[in-house]
Symmetry: C2
Subunit: 142 residues, 2 copies
DNA sequence: TCAATAGTTTAGAATTATTATAATGTAGCT
DNA sequence: AGCTACATTATAATAATTCTAAACTATTGA
């Protein structure tokens, strides 16, 4: 339950009220060792299970976006039909497994810093993201 | 009109029938100097103008996907709400202007080859894509 | 040249992901 | 306890995309 207190703190800090739903979301999202990648649908499922009752889709969308705006979650674009989110909000890159549709973090030393020689005049670089798509080695790959 | 013949050839080669609609799409897509980035909606607009009559959305979707499957177009994921396509199907990277929502090609020498030190066992790398998000330098950026 | 057929186009319906709405509920303050 | 502002909810609305089935057209071969 002490972690629960932490989540209450966390939510307060960013100006979100610690509601039952949000605390359950926190548990699912942040109470884990490793980075967690998910779609909204995944999350609705998992929270519902944890609460042992249905949570509204709208709540999950709203809250995920609130977390995102506050910098607790990061959106990742891989394919245009689904939004993936990442609990690791630091700058990092990804592998995407085209067979399983799974996202895997690269850590900083898996990949050398990307060296960009050109820049767009009057614009500043906000982010640099590398996406490495992988698939089964042997058989016919799509 | 000779370019039109080329397009007929091109389509035949990949097993697509050269219909009025597809030839107009070819004109819009491939009859240009520089790489072209577009969304389906952009394209419907432009083809309709060229034909001086409405083209069905479904036709554009079908044909874009046919071109994509045949390797004439490449899809690029930037934000999860829109699909962008690119007439440059070679491996290359992109700038995305968050102010104007414009995509800009990097050419090979704008960016040093990305050096990946980790690999996922049993998987082969299909593609490595870098997306550099840029926005106005001066004022408040989102 | 013409008809058969296999692939195409089309409008509109269906689907899916996401966002908006408006009523009801709840946290935090007094 | 009760007020107020913010949250949650079910449902409706919107947007992008895909499906469907009927009408159409390019190609082939008689």
């Amino acid at each position: 339950m002490s972690k629960n207190c932490n989540f209450i703190e966390k939510l307060r800090e960013v100006g979100l009220r610690p509601t039952k739903q949000r605390l359950n979301m926190c548990e699912v999202l942040f109470n884990r060792e490793k980075t967690f990648h998910f779609t909204i649908n995944d999350l609705v499922q998992m929270i519902s299970e944890k609460m042992n009752q249905k949570i509204s889709l709208a709540t999950v969308y709203n809250t995920v976006h609130a977390f995102e705006k506050k910098g607790y979650l990061k959106e990742i674009s891989i394919d245009s039909h689904k939004s993936y989110f990442d609990t690791n909000t630091s700058a990092h890159h990804h592998f995407f497994d085209e067979d399983t549709h799974e996202l895997i973090d690269c850590d900083a030393n898996d990949i050398e810093p990307v060296n960009i020689k050109k820049n767009i005049t009057g614009k500043k670089i906000n982010s640099v993201e590398v996406l490495i798509k992988v698939a089964s080695d042997n058989q016919n790959q799509k």
